[in-house]
C-alpha cells in the first residue's frame, strides 16, 4: 500500500525518535462528538501544539491520509519524495494563525490511481517575514498556486521566477486573507 510506503519514506526526514505521532486525543474525542450527534465539548478545543512529524489521519473523518508538518528547509526534500512516488499536486494554500504569529502554507498531493492516499504537507513560517522555498521547479503547476498564496497571504516563495500578483490587480500591495486585513 502506498500509504505505508509514503509514511516510511517521509519519516526518514525526521531523524528524531518517534516520528509517527499518535493521533492526538482531541481528534478522537471530536470524532466521537461528531458521531453522537451535535454535542459540543468546547473545553477540548485546546489542541496541543503540533510538532514536526508525520501523522496518520483517518480519511473518512478528515478527507486526507497523511499529514506532514515540517520546517520550510525540509520542504523540498519532502516534495521530491512525493514527486518520485507519482503524486500530483492538488493545491497550495495558506492559513493565517494570527494568535501564534505564524503563517502556514499547506500543500495537498493526491494520486491518480485507485490506491487512495492524500498527503498534506504543512510548513509554518513567522508572520513578520514569511518565506518558503518554491516547489515550482519540481511541480511547474505549483507556480500559480504559489502566486495565489503570495497574493492572499504575502508568503514569499524563494526562487519563484515570476512572483507577481495573479488574481489581484498587478499593483496590489495588500493581502486580503490575512486576519488583520481591512479593505
Amino acid at each position: 500500500m502506498i500509504k505505508e510506503k509514503m509514511i516510511q519514506a517521509l519519516s526518514e526526514l525526521f531523524p528524531d525518535p518517534e516520528p509517527i505521532v499518535e493521533e492526538p486525543v482531541v481528534e478522537a474525542a471530536e470524532d466521537e462528538a461528531a458521531d453522537d450527534g451535535k454535542k459540543k465539548k468546547p473545553k477540548k478545543k485546546v489542541e496541543p501544539p503540533r510538532v514536526n512529524g508525520v501523522l496518520e489521519r483517518d480519511h473518512a473523518a478528515h478527507g486526507y491520509d497523511i499529514d506532514v508538518q515540517l520546517d520550510p528547509g525540509e520542504l523540498l526534500a519532502a516534495v521530491m519524495i512525493i514527486d518520485k512516488a507519482g503524486f500530483f499536486i492538488e493545491s497550495i494554500t495558506g492559513v493565517d494563525w494570527i494568535k501564534e504569529k505564524q503563517l502556514e502554507s499547506v500543500y495537498d498531493f493526491s494520486r491518480y490511481d485507485h490506491d487512495l492516499c492524500r498527503i498534506v504537507v504543512r510548513t509554518r513560517t513567522p508572520r513578520d517575514n514569511p518565506s518558503v522555498p518554491t516547489i515550482s521547479k519540481i511541480y511547474p503547476g505549483a507556480s500559480w498556486h504559489e502566486r495565489e498564496t503570495h497574493d492572499f497571504f504575502g508568503i514569499k516563495f524563494e526562487g519563484h521566477p515570476h512572483l507577481i500578483p495573479l488574481l489581484l490587480p498587478e499593483d496590489a500591495d495588500f493581502h486580503p486573507l490575512l486576519k488583520d486585513f481591512k479593505p
Binding site: L168, P169, F174, P176, F181, K182, P183
Partner: protein
C-alpha cells in the same frame, strides 16, 4: 417611461436619459424613422462576465430567441455594437477594460445592467470586499436595469422591449392584461 423620471436618478454619472445624439437630419419625422431603425436592430456586444452571460446566451438561443427583434447579431468588436450588456460582476481590475470597450463603441450606444451584480454588486457586496465595483452605473451611464440573480431570459427580452420604448417612444407590444 415618461421623461419625467429624469430628475429622480441618484447616480453621480450623467443621467442615462440624456437625449440620444441626434444625427444630421433634424426633422422630427426623420428622427422618428431613424430611432425606429435603431431600436429594431440593437446589436449587442459579445461581452459576458459571469453567470448572467449564460442567461444572455440562452436568450440568444432557440427557446427565447432575441433575433426576433433583430437583436441577435452579437458583435465581438465594440465598433459594430450598439448595446453593451454588462452581464455579471464588475471587478476593479476589469473596470478600465469595460470603460475602454464602452468608449470604443460608436454613438449612439446603450448600456444594460443585467443581473444584481451589475446593478449594485449584488450578493458580493459584503464587508471586507475589496475587489468589485458596486454596480456598473458607478462608471457607465446605464440605461436599463434588469434585476435577478441571474434574471430569466424573459427579463432580458423585457429589458430590450423597454429600452426600445425608451429610445423611440414606440411600443412594440401592449400587455393586454395591463392595458
Amino acid at each position: 417611461m415618461d421623461q419625467g423620471s429624469l430628475q429622480v436618478g441618484t447616480q453621480n454619472v450623467p443621467s442615462p436619459l440624456e437625449p440620444i445624439p441626434s444625427s444630421v437630419v433634424q426633422f422630427a419625422a426623420a428622427d422618428k424613422l431613424i430611432n425606429l431603425g435603431r431600436v429594431n436592430s440593437f446589436w449587442p456586444l459579445t461581452f459576458g462576465i459571469a453567470c448572467c452571460a449564460i442567461e444572455m446566451m440562452a436568450t440568444g438561443c432557440a427557446r427565447f430567441d432575441m433575433s426576433r427583434f433583430g437583436a441577435e447579431v452579437f458583435r465581438p468588436s465594440p465598433r459594430q455594437a450598439d448595446l453593451m450588456i454588462v452581464a455579471g460582476t464588475v471587478t476593479k481590475k476589469m473596470m478600465p477594460g469595460i470603460k475602454v470597450l464602452y468608449d470604443q463603441m460608436p454613438e449612439p450606444k446603450w448600456v444594460m445592467a443585467l443581473g444584481n451584480c451589475a446593478i449594485s454588486g449584488g450578493p458580493f457586496a459584503f464587508e471586507g470586499q475589496y475587489s468589485i465595483v458596486l454596480g456598473a452605473d458607478t462608471f457607465l451611464p446605464v440605461d436599463i436595469y434588469i434585476p435577478g440573480c441571474p434574471p430569466r431570459p424573459e427579463a432580458l427580452l423585457q429589458g430590450i422591449l423597454d429600452l426600445e420604448n425608451k429610445v423611440s417612444g414606440w411600443n412594440r407590444w401592449k400587455d393586454p392584461e395591463k392595458a
